[in-house]
């Protein structure tokens, strides 16, 4: 198949949009599914939706991460009827903290850090952000910080699970021809993509 390079740029943009829309849709679905799952502990959430945010980060960069995770938080809360409730504030606060940390770590250590590393840092950021928001908005009591160690431990475990899932997803996505160009740009100069 042949196409001019101008067409290819357009095609790449359309692909990016389509994939980001799919990522958002999947993230919203996971957000809802996780809400339906019974939880053994009241505040224990794996944060499965973050798998898609991580995938977006590693395939399309920092901007894509913010698009996917913020859209997911708003659409997911709208669907579950928790938009602008205290729970939503916790979710948004955690999301903003997590995204900032994930963006920063990805920018700082772009070629060295993997999905699991970014995921764990993001999860730690998420629980810290949630506790800060909980402290500011809900209960202004210092003993709330006693929960932090338990939250951090849970974040470490769920961060590893999500990062692992994102790594599997990225590996299988990169096998698809639509990601050929992306894969080439990641691999650098030695594996240049040819328009033939």
């Amino acid at each position: 198949m042949t196409s001019s390079s101008g067409d290819s740029e357009d095609l790449e943009q359309v692909r990016r949009r389509v994939f980001l829309a799919l990522f958002v849709a999947l993230a919203v679905a996971l957000h809802a599914v996780e809400f339906l799952l019974p939880n053994p502990l009241p505040w224990f959430r794996i944060g499965l939706a973050n798998i898609l945010a991580l995938t977006a980060l590693f395939s399309y960069g920092i901007q894509a991460l913010w698009i996917v995770s913020l859209s997911r938080i708003f659409i997911g809360s709208l669907l579950l009827g928790s938009l602008f409730s205290p729970g939503f504030l916790l979710s948004l606060g955690g999301g903003l903290f997590a995204n900032s940390i994930m963006s920063l770590s990805y920018k700082l250590w772009q070629n060295r850090i993997g999905p699991i590393g970014v995921s764990v840092l993001g999860a730690l950021g998420h629980v810290t952000g949630q506790l800060v928001i909980a402290w500011l908005v809900v209960i202004r009591h210092p003993s709330i910080w006693m929960l932090l160690p338990f939250f951090l431990l849970i974040a470490l475990i769920s961060g590893i699970i999500n990062g692992l899932a994102a790594d599997y997803l990225l590996t299988s996505l990169y096998k698809h021809p639509a990601f050929l160009k992306l894969r080439a740009s990641k691999a650098g100069a030695e594996e240049t993509y040819s328009e033939a």
Partner: protein
């Protein structure tokens, strides 16, 4: 049986990062355990502080509020209300208070028992204040 190995999905940087994070989590737990018990029990009746004592000293104290005598017991680093003239006995069912920030309250008798300070550091130094 083959053990599922997830570590092969880690970059060497991730590996070091995970070790550091695990150490930090362990550290946060140790800080929590060290700071968990309070230093002194503070009693106020009708918003006036009437009694301060260390949590480490076992004793029974009779507190007199508008309704009558409420008995506070301090034992093994925990404070609890063991008898009270109030109608619903909510304060007695609040159980033990041992951590800094914990509260026991008997609203009808206007008594509030709170745990303050930290069992390590200067807070633990003095042993009794009666006001």
């Amino acid at each position: 049986m083959k053990i599922f190995s997830w570590t092969k999905h880690l970059t060497s940087f991730d590996r070091r990062l995970l070790v550091i994070v695990a150490v930090l989590v362990a550290l946060s737990f140790s800080i929590l355990l060290r700071q968990s018990s309070g230093a002194r029990v503070v009693v106020s009746i009708d918003d006036r502080t009437v009694f301060v004592a260390p949590l480490a000293k076992d004793q029974k104290v009779e507190l007199v509020g508008p309704l009558g005598k409420t008995v506070l017991q301090v034992e093994n680093g925990a404070a609890r209300i063991i008898s009270s003239p109030c109608p619903h006995k909510v304060c007695m069912r609040m159980g033990d208070a041992r951590h800094s920030g914990d509260l026991l309250a008997c609203v009808p008798n206007k008594i509030v028992v709170s745990i303050e300070g930290d069992s390590i550091g200067e807070d633990a130094e003095y042993d009794f204040i009666q006001r």
